[in-house]
Amino acid sequence: MKKILLYSVLLLFGLVAPFLFPAFKLQISFLWILIILAMTWDVQGGQMGYNTFGNILFFGIGMYLCAGIQIGMFFPLAEWTVSGGEKTFVHTPTQYFQGFIVGLVAAGIIPAIVAGLIGYGILGLRGHYFAICTLALGIAAGEIAGGIELIGAGQGMTSPPWPKNIGDTELRSEFFYYICFVLMIATFVFLRWAYTTRFGLVLNAIRDNEDKAEAMGIYTMRYKIIGWVVSAFFVGMAGGLMGNMVGYIEPTEVAFAGPTFGVFMILMAILGGKGTLWGPVIGATVFHLFKEGFWTFFLGWQYVALGVLIVVIVVFFPEGIMGWLREKYPEKFGEVIDEADRKAQVELK
C-alpha cells in the first residue's frame, strides 16, 4: 500500500513537473535521460557484474540514426550536412513527426541488433578485459564517426529543427519532456519486471559466479546477450531523443561522449548503489542535482571537479547510497539481523 502511494506520488510529480517548474523543463528531461542511462548501465554493471564502458556506443548510434533518418526520409542527407541544410530544407510538421517516430523506433531497434551481433564476441571477455574492450569500442566508434563525411565528420550535424508553424519552443520542450518521461517509465517498469523473472535471477547468478551458473546448466551467453540487447534498445532511444533535444550532434563531445555521458552513467549507478533497482534512479537524481547546482560555480573547472568526483566516489564510496542505507537500516530491506551477532561483528572490526 505504501509502495503504491510512493509510486503514484512520483508519477504525479513527473506529470505535473513541467508546469510546476517551467524554467527547468529541459533540465528535468535531461534527468530522465540520465536515469535511463544509469538504469541500463546497471543491467550490466550492477546486476550482471560486467563493467561496461561501451554502452555509450549505442547512445551514439541511436543519436546519429534518429537524426539521419529524420533528415534522410525527406531530404538528401549529404547536402544537409555539408551546407547547413536546416536553412534550405524545412520539415513540414507532418514530415517532422513521421520522421521522428520512424527515427526513434529505428534508434531503438538497430542498436539492439548491433548489440546482439557484437555481443557474442565481446561478452565472452571477462573482468577488466571486458571493461577495456568496451572502452576501446566506444572511442573507436567516435573516431570513425568523426571521419565519415556523410554524417558531417568532425564538425557534426544538426538534427532537424522544430517546425515553426505549430508552436513555440515551450511546446517543443513539453513534447520532448513527455517523450523522455514515458521512455524513462517504460525502462523502469520493464527492468522492474525483468528483475523479478528468471532472467533477473540468471543475471545475478552470472554476477556471483559465472562458472557455477554455467555448470548448473544455464546457457549464460544467451542471457548476457539479451541483457545487452535490452540495454542497447533503451540507450539507443535515449540517444535519439538526446540528439533531438540538443539539436546538434558532434561525434566525440555529444554522441560517443566517453568522458561525459559514458562516465556519468557508471558514476550515477555506483553513486546510487549498483545492483539495486532504485540505486541508479537515486544516483542519477543526486548527481544531476549536484551537477546543475554546482557546475556553474566551477566555471571552466567542471572537468577537474568531475575527475575529483569520480575518484572520491569510486575510492571512498563504492557501495553507493543504497548500499549505505542497507548497512544502516538492514531491517527496511527485509534482512533479519541477530543483534548479538551484529555486536560481535562490530567488535571484530
Partner: protein, 311 residues
Amino acid sequence: MPPKFIGGIFFTNFMDLLIFKAPILMVQASMDGILLGILFALIAYGMALQWGVMNIINIAQGELVIMGGYVAYFMYVIGIHPAFGVIVSPIIMYFVGVGLYKLVINKVVDRDLFISILATFGISILTQQLMNFIFGADVVVAQSNFGTTMLFDNSVTLPNSKIFSALVSVIVAIVLVIYMKKSKLGRAIRATAQNSRAAKILGVDTEKVYAATFGINAALCGVAGSLIAITFTLHPYVGLPYTVRSFMIVIVAGLGNLPGVAISGMGLGVFEEFADYLLGTEFRIGAVFLLLVLILVYRRFKLSRKREYLK
C-alpha cells in the same frame, strides 16, 4: 572528385600505394613504424611493470606520457634544448608518480581491478583538464632541429629526432632491465610481483615498493613523453590512445616479457603507419582502438575452444 566514403578512400589509396609508390612507401612506413613502436614498447613496459607488481590497470598512463612531454616542451619554451627533457622529465615525473600513489593509487591496489580502472580514468580526466589550463588546448611541438637522414637515394626520409628517440628508448630499457636484475629495489619489486604477502613477511616494505614501482612507471612515461614532444606533437587530450596502445602491447606480449613487448610494440607501430597511409589520417586512432577490440575478440574465440576465457 573521388567518392568521399570510407571504401572509396581505402580503395584509391590502396591502388595508389600498390601501383605507384609501393616499394618506397613500404620501406618508409615500416621504418617509421618501427621507430615509433620502440617508443610504444617503452610505455608498455611501464604498464606491464605496474600491472604485474600492483595488479592495477592505469588508464592515466597516457596522461603521464603527455605530462612528461609538456615538461620537455616547457624547457623548449624557456630556451633549453628539449632533448635534455629526457633527463629532467623522468625526475619530475618520478615525484609526480609517487605523489599520485600516495594520494589515490594506494587505496585501489588491493581492490577490484575495475575500481582501479575507474579511479585512474578519473585521474586521467582531471590531468587532461589541468594540462589544458596550464598549456592551452593547442597542438604544440618542441623543435629539436636535429635534421633528417635520407636513405636509398633520397626516397626514404627519416627525421634524426625519431632515430634519437628510438636509441634513447633502447638505452633506457636496457638500463632498467639491468637495474631490475641487480639492484636491491629491483629484487624487492620482483619479489613483490611474485607474491606480495610472502615478500611482506620476509621484510620487504611493500608499500614503499609499490610507491617506487609507480614512480618508475611515471618516470618511464616521462622519458617517452619527452621523446614524443620532440618527434611528434603534444595535445592535452591525446593521452588515451597511448594507454590503449600500451594495454594492447601488454596483452599481446604478456607480463614480464621484454622481447615480446619490444616486438609487439614495433608491430603496432608498423600497423599504425600502414593504417595511416591506407585509410587516411582521420581513421588512424580509430584503427588502433578497433585493433584492440579485434585482438581481444580473437583471443576470446581462440580460448573458448578450450572452454577457457581471458582472465
